[in-house]
Symmetry: D3
Amino acid sequence: MTTVEAAAAVARSPLVILPAGAYEQHGPGMPLATDTLRAEAVAERVAAELGGRAVIGPSLPVGVSPHHLGFAGTVTLTTGTLAAVVRDYVGSLHRHGWRKFLVITGHGGNNATLTTVAQDLLADRPDVEFAWTPVTVLASEVVAEMGVSEVHGHSGEAETAQMLHLAPQLVHRERLVAGTTAHDQLDPLSKVARRGGHPTLTLPYDRLSPNGVLGDPRTATPEDGAAIVAAVVTRITAFAKEWLDS
Amino acid sequence: MTTVEAAAAVARSPLVILPAGAYEQHGPGMPLATDTLRAEAVAERVAAELGGRAVIGPSLPVGVSPHHLGFAGTVTLTTGTLAAVVRDYVGSLHRHGWRKFLVITGHGGNNATLTTVAQDLLADRPDVEFAWTPVTVLASEVVAEMGVSEVHGHSGEAETAQMLHLAPQLVHRERLVAGTTAHDQLDPLSKVARRGGHPTLTLPYDRLSPNGVLGDPRTATPEDGAAIVAAVVTRITAFAKEWLDS
Amino acid sequence: MTTVEAAAAVARSPLVILPAGAYEQHGPGMPLATDTLRAEAVAERVAAELGGRAVIGPSLPVGVSPHHLGFAGTVTLTTGTLAAVVRDYVGSLHRHGWRKFLVITGHGGNNATLTTVAQDLLADRPDVEFAWTPVTVLASEVVAEMGVSEVHGHSGEAETAQMLHLAPQLVHRERLVAGTTAHDQLDPLSKVARRGGHPTLTLPYDRLSPNGVLGDPRTATPEDGAAIVAAVVTRITAFAKEWLDS
Amino acid sequence: MTTVEAAAAVARSPLVILPAGAYEQHGPGMPLATDTLRAEAVAERVAAELGGRAVIGPSLPVGVSPHHLGFAGTVTLTTGTLAAVVRDYVGSLHRHGWRKFLVITGHGGNNATLTTVAQDLLADRPDVEFAWTPVTVLASEVVAEMGVSEVHGHSGEAETAQMLHLAPQLVHRERLVAGTTAHDQLDPLSKVARRGGHPTLTLPYDRLSPNGVLGDPRTATPEDGAAIVAAVVTRITAFAKEWLDS
Amino acid sequence: MTTVEAAAAVARSPLVILPAGAYEQHGPGMPLATDTLRAEAVAERVAAELGGRAVIGPSLPVGVSPHHLGFAGTVTLTTGTLAAVVRDYVGSLHRHGWRKFLVITGHGGNNATLTTVAQDLLADRPDVEFAWTPVTVLASEVVAEMGVSEVHGHSGEAETAQMLHLAPQLVHRERLVAGTTAHDQLDPLSKVARRGGHPTLTLPYDRLSPNGVLGDPRTATPEDGAAIVAAVVTRITAFAKEWLDS
Amino acid sequence: MTTVEAAAAVARSPLVILPAGAYEQHGPGMPLATDTLRAEAVAERVAAELGGRAVIGPSLPVGVSPHHLGFAGTVTLTTGTLAAVVRDYVGSLHRHGWRKFLVITGHGGNNATLTTVAQDLLADRPDVEFAWTPVTVLASEVVAEMGVSEVHGHSGEAETAQMLHLAPQLVHRERLVAGTTAHDQLDPLSKVARRGGHPTLTLPYDRLSPNGVLGDPRTATPEDGAAIVAAVVTRITAFAKEWLDS
């Protein structure tokens, strides 16, 4: 996209989609950029579904990942830095005339910061409508049908399936190994953190899993990944259409 | 509590509970401090259940409430200010020797900021264990049984019930009136924001409801409030015991 | 107070009083919240004297207390955090229409930060009138008549007297003991810090007094406390009336 | 001073004196840098009196002067900026080995910020001893004997006298004119602000005085200025000696 | 790269290369991400030349571009935000063991911020060696031989040539048009800003050029681009080798 | 200058010159304030040349000098603090009506921060024109003719010459000694840093030179200093005139 397309898009495409990810360990078999790749792929498909009513802005390739710092290669922003970056993106695009923003984050560690940005914008830029969404949880029904491990999540069945669908060339299949898959494998404090629901206790992932994986990525299939992505895209698209029509 | 009790508590009571609330409109019938009062009441009961293994620290009487600024009296902190306050509390108590912190927030607008604090603490103070919890959602089963409105939430049946149980003298019963109770009463953009689940769009509450209320507080009873509070206390206590024993 | 009263108060009660305190050691006999309690009590009495021309906003229950961190239980904000909180309170209430703010601080450690807020507001919000006041020093004549110790101050005769008047149930009378009462008990550096007047050297209180007390709280009486509070309330009320009439 | 003298001074001169001033209107007859000049002059004399036990560090030529922004030429720092500058000075000199710091401020607008720095340093750099002092108020007895105006202060008799003594070539004597000299000349709100003592209300100086002057600088004499400076130097020197000996 | 490769790289590849770019107008013919693409391409080639002694970390896809905000699509970070991001990257990778960092920036607007990061790191992380480099100016001899316009720079001959070499599919050749090419086309203030050398006056680019282009991109050839990139890679590689061997 | 002259200057003297320096080691023979003195001297001469079209504002006596912290006496601001100070200066003078600012920095360590201020002002205060300039490099032709050492720079021939011309009484001629003068005297990492041109690696000066000097100040003459200063003043004056006329 050049500035020419951008100028045209201000009028024609009132929604800006910003893909947000992470640069963090995804176990021995998946790339550090896994979450960013998934977010970008979903963003592109949603934009395509919206048929010109949305444009994709610059990515946020690094997110909030302090819980993964125990694993080499992980890069994290503080929550304050990520919030500043998102605000700067929004502030810049606001100057050009955009008012609707949707951040699609492939990384759950960004969720809270995105909410704080939304809250502060209410007071600072009342004419902005700022929304955000995670990816995988939008397809929770699909994931439930996949038959995932008791403990399941980061770099597990669902994320791996998406990568096998979206970027199979970046997955080291031969290295995929199970991480923590059962509640009993957790130490007592980790069990507290993985009780589910609230209260919420945040622990570093090297405590939850020796290899950083929750679940068993070996059972993931590209077909499952395609189903997850399709469900996610459908849901976000429906949301965006309703929003654009409101 | 004096410094004498505090000194004794460092050894005996390894958990500090911090009640967090808000200073924001709660419709025509409930006080601005509703969320703080509920959080403090729950904190006291949980501490009592824990039998000396927890102490209650200073409250956070003002939270993140930009969405209520359209209603007189609402005071909000930015998310950055609230995060700084919580960090300062934790940092001070850390000097005295505490390592476990549980924030009980009566106000959902604080959730995201509390998560960002938890995340940043992972990198900055790895010896701290920081947890937080909302209140009402822990009793979602009880609330479901109450038969609440289609649109239900802020200052609605569940919050009002808690106040009728905890601080009936502060509730102006004669002023309790229904707010937005049905999806059809919402304007199109508000419908998008109240779809449920993700994506998440944050809107100011004067858009969602003319009087700031979601639901019909007139149907609330003190008995329901007692049941909600009991469920919340039970759940947090169970969590805290497992944590303290881990 | 609900949002209904707040909406009415914007027009009728142009002055907002904000009570500020501390959460810090007050010797073995008085609670950590001593300063906040005193500030709130004075605020309520001043507001009553002003007969509807002032409202009381949310408290600032934790202040700037790094000098007390040597004693368990003390929680402090940095000066920057406290300033941010006060600015957020003022900014929120400014949206609703208030322009006159009076912070009553029961804790002298907040004085400087309140002044910095007043200064920065001059440039940032020229339509705001921001005043603040300490408590005990307004009654210096009463205190002088009480016959206090040579070294006298924190948790000493005057503060204890106020608590015996305002919240006797929170004072552990049997634990009240003298702290540092004479200049000769101070080490040389502490003598420098307690010379009186300027230059000003700030030292931690565990250096000034082994038990955190300056003075002898055992001589305090509720009658002295009542006299102090009355003098303080009279002086603040007179100030506020002149201000509101100007 | 070169780095050679600085290296020697770390051992021989354990006290660093930092002169702080302002760059703000001082009426039609005195320079914008009046407060900095006075602070530097006092610093030099105190250092001389201390006979090698103190060194003078870099000046702080601009201070906190938002109340003078109504008059051309005034430059102000926010309180946060000034605090950052002072902390950076202290942090740098701390690396070289200094632990005792005394800021002499010729401008009262800096007082609060200096106190906040002292407070934050207690927690952040417990091995630092940080003191600060104003100038003119140390000579209040001398000033009282001068017979000053009822309203008296900024650019008035005492400040002008000091300048006539320290830098007569920078004073435009022919332009010296009286500013506000009597309480009755003040408008009602200004009277509130000039009541004396607490509560404290901060107002811009263009409201207090049409020409920015409080008092009548025409009655100032260099002899009075010499007496003020001598009293100030004596007092600070005595303080510093006691400190260095403690 | 997965965390497995990252863990191996900490020992084997002591240098981390971080590509930095911009998301800003590049005239009607080149994409907003031009600078990031060029930086990433150079980074990959330098890493290849270094044969395993360097790894490439996450990109900085948005930089400091306030001077391009007059053109649609430009997104800028404030200098403080970019500095925070770079510091967070360095801080994260420092935890894993890396000490040498080289930022390759395709966007000159990032240069100053990168220098400020380098300066602050000297004091905060003395064990870090932080270097940065621009791209095109390293090939100034090649550019000089190309015969560029009198006014030449942003989106001009040299940048376009690089893109024709590196990513020709992203260049809209048919849209390439000359921007400001001669000093006489500039208005007087712009002439001051483009005098060359110091003093330095920064102006927005919509003042310097109606279409945001400085120079005539139509004369650019992929061959020139290849020569520029080769010269840049050679120079950075030589620097990095000398550094790694030192 | 008093506020009277300042008020007149807003209309008559549209350009404000701000001298910026440093407080850092300048070898055994030159004062810590060398850079500030040179900047102020140049500022005065430029202002004189401009005949009333410029005024000189307050100095920035301390700059960004972390690379000199290894030598006693050096005081540094972080880049963020210096930027805040400059912005506060500009913001204050902007209130009075000035729009053109020129910072003359005698210290190269300030260059990057000044550029970041210029960039952020483009977005925040689009009506401001902010320029900055170094000193010595403007006279590079004169310096080249002086016949300086192979390694030459800080406190070397050119800086010393300027001081011998501008403030000979502050130069300890008998202490002037050569520092690092030849590339071969550098250790391998320092050679990388002193390669010249980009990439840029910033190292502390105690690594580059045992006594903090680059070059041989003994060969400096006041005549060379006069020539340097004259060339610098000529160049800045020409720039300013063109600017003021534009």
